[in-house]
């Protein structure tokens, strides 16, 4: 096949307008495509990050005591005993909030005494704590990598009033938070201080866990306090054997709805559904970007297709003449493919500059990581392919024009 790029190019230069418009469409499509795919990729990665927990097999159930005689401590004791006895349940715990739910308890730990004035006041909510008993780690499915779990005798009873909450003698902390607090050396056994400068010892370190706010910068700065949660609201997390979640959920909801007439069940929900809600904006953003990008790509393809079709239709005599003087069918196909390749390439060159510009602007404006060049390379290859694909049908049709057209049209 003889590509003859130079004369195709000179002929194209004499018919610029349509070509420039289509090239601009391609440029814009490329700039948006590359950056949108990059953003979507980041969001998808974010949603797919490991949470450290057995998310698929955990559900949460919330109850509120309302009656005069409601006994929070007794309710927790009875409910937990029941939950841990249900067949198919791995373990259960009462806590203050649901991980990944977007609502939780924040406070900060400091490696030095001095409380608010320790010089270590990180931003608000820097540490995210959960109150649990010795069943907490197993219920969440997190992995202890150093130290030990809480012992039953360490667990403080549910406070009767928030004013009298003591800090804890001991805490279990995520590896990420421990490294942040003690960048040098082994954090196990070290003392941390709360906002009132009250001390606690780090007795265990867990591998990894996302807390209540997975979309913040450091969702893995989590620690556990050995204490039953304050009432009259109680939130239980229940971990089931794989495949048992729905059955256990239904059974538990039914039982707990009637087991204690001093309280009501507020809701029963899977941890997965909390996670899905928390990442809703990421998913919506992804869907929006994919839709917009697909539309732009469709418009660019239609532009290429339309221009190629127009060119074929307005050049039937020229095509017939080329055939008459010796062009084979594939030479005609090649002509239109080369022509469209030139237009696409012009658009791609401009589009690369635009993509980098948009990427730079986004990274500045929204503190996003800089555009990964692999995405640009992928976008360029993709648009080249799309351009060739969109021009293929008109080019094939051009090749079917009879050489007799040369003598039959004047």
């Amino acid at each position: 096949m003889n590509l003859n790029i130079r004369p195709v190019f000179s002929a194209l230069l004499r018919n610029r307008t349509g070509a420039i418009l289509v090239a601009m469409q391609i440029a814009i499509a490329l700039a948006v495509l590359v950056n949108a795919v990059y953003i979507v990729k980041q969001r998808v990665d974010r949603i797919g990050r490991p949470t450290g927990m057995d998310v698929e097999n955990i559900f949460a159930i919330s109850s509120s005591g309302f009656a005069q005689g409601y006994d929070h401590r007794a309710t927790l004791r009875d409910d937990l005993a029941y939950l841990r006895s249900v067949p198919g349940v791995v373990d259960a715990v009462a806590t203050t909030s649901v991980p990944l739910s977007g609502g939780g308890n924040g406070s900060f730990l400091s490696p030095r005494p001095g409380g608010m004035h320790s010089g270590f006041t990180a931003q608000q909510g820097d540490g995210n704590y959960f109150e649990i008993d010795e069943h907490g780690l197993q219920t969440l499915g997190v992995r202890l990598i150093a130290g030990r779990n809480f012992r039953p005798d360490e667990i403080a009873p549910a406070p009767l009033s928030l004013a009298h909450t003591e800090f804890a003698p001991s805490v279990i902390i995520t590896q990420a938070y421990a490294r942040y607090l003690f960048p040098d050396g082994n954090p196990l056994g070290r003392t941390v201080y709360d906002y009132l400068s009250r001390p606690a010892r780090i007795i265990g370190i867990i591998d990894h866990m996302h807390g209540a706010w997975p979309t913040v910068d450091h969702p893995d700065r989590v620690y556990f306090l050995p204490r039953m949660a304050y009432g009259p609201r109680a939130t239980y997390l229940v971990r089931t054997e794989p495949g048992e979640l729905n059955r256990v959920m239904a059974q538990v909801e039914q039982h707990m709805g009637t087991s204690n007439s001093d309280r009501v069940i507020n809701w029963v929900r899977t941890l997965s559904s909390f996670k899905a809600d928390t990442y809703m904006s990421d998913r919506n953003m992804g869907t929006f970007l994919v839709t917009v990008t697909s539309l732009l790509l469709a418009i660019a393809s239609l532009g290429i297709f339309g221009l190629a079709t127009f060119n074929v239709n307005t050049r039937t005599k020229q095509i017939g003449t080329r055939r008459a003087v010796g062009a084979r069918r594939r030479d005609i196909v090649a002509y239109f493919m080369v022509e469209n390749w030139l237009i696409t390439t012009a658009g791609i060159v401009v589009g690369c500059a635009m993509a980098l510009g948009v990427g730079y602007w986004l990274s500045h404006q929204y503190a996003m990581p800089r555009l990964d060049l692999y995405f640009l390379v992928g976008g360029v290859l993709g648009l080249w392919g799309l351009g060739l694909l969109a021009a293929w049908q008109p080019a094939r049709r051009a090749a079917t024009i009879s050489p007799a057209v040369a003598t039959r049209t004047v």
Binding site: N2, N4, P7, S10, A11, L12, R14, N15, K317, Q318, T321, R322, R323, A324, V325, G326, A327, R328, R329, D331, S402, P403, A404, A406, T407, R408, T409, V410
Partner: protein, 239 residues
């Protein structure tokens, strides 16, 4: 030599069948200059298209330069058109977006000649037709006669054995028409076989031989001029 025997060509549409060529036989010898005349719709263009491998035919036998062309593939027909046949059209058919030089270059590129040889052929063809100084003009910047001469240069650059012209002067005034015919005569004298369809009987008379087509068949032919010796020696001219 171009040898057609009992060729038929039928155009079919939903309603009608047009027998554009019927039992059509004609032999054109190397070096001849044949003018084809006939009423409108008689089949002149059809004959030229079949002869030039632009269209296929249904029955009969056609030997072009000694070889049977009825069973050739589309690609082989393209190659033969490129190498053996030059076309001249009533409407010139120059490519409007290419300058004269590039227009003459079109068939040579399809022959995949190297750049130096193409350049050599383009310039000598343009010199022959007197357009060497206009090679970088666009077709729209030339007069009709100049455009037709550029088209003749394109047809000649590939050094074809046959030049097929369908009313090459149909769009030209009589002065420009005569110049074009002078050029064709000059080319014929250099050895190229020419078949020219024309309505102009005065121009037709300048050919060696006149073939008159009526209703898809040859009704009459006569020689106006003594034939070139080579042709006369080759034998009879005829159906």
């Amino acid at each position: 030599m171009l040898d057609m025997q009992h060729i038929s060509k039928v155009y079919r549409s939903d309603l009608v069948e047009t027998h554009a060529l019927r039992d059509f036989s004609l032999t054109v010898h190397a070096g001849e200059f044949v003018a084809v005349t006939g009423p409108s719709g008689s089949g002149k263009t059809t004959f030229l298209n079949v002869a030039g491998l632009l269209e296929t035919f249904h029955t009969g036998r056609y030997l072009l330069d000694g070889s049977d062309v009825s069973k050739l593939s589309d690609d082989e027909r393209s190659r033969l058109r490129n190498e053996k046949i030059g076309f001249i059209f009533q409407g010139f058919n120059l490519i409007p977006d290419l300058d004269i030089y590039d227009n003459v270059d079109v068939p040579l590129r399809y022959r995949r000649m190297n750049r130096a040889e193409r350049h050599e052929r383009i310039t000598s063809a343009l010199e022959l037709v007197g357009l060497a100084s206009r090679m970088h003009h666009m077709p729209s910047q030339l007069s009709g006669g100049q455009q037709q001469r550029a088209a003749i240069a394109r047809a000649l650059a590939g050094d074809p054995k046959f030049l097929l012209a369908d009313e090459p002067t149909g769009n030209l005034d009589s002065l420009m028409a005569r110049q074009v015919l002078d050029l064709l005569e000059q080319i014929n004298e250099m050895g190229t076989t020419i078949i020219m369809v024309t309505h102009d009987l005065e121009l037709a008379r300048r050919a060696h031989r006149n073939v008159h087509i009526v209703d898809g068949q040859i009704s009459d032919f006569r020689a106006y001029e003594p034939l070139p010796e080579a042709v006369a020696a080759a034998g009879t001219i005829g159906r």
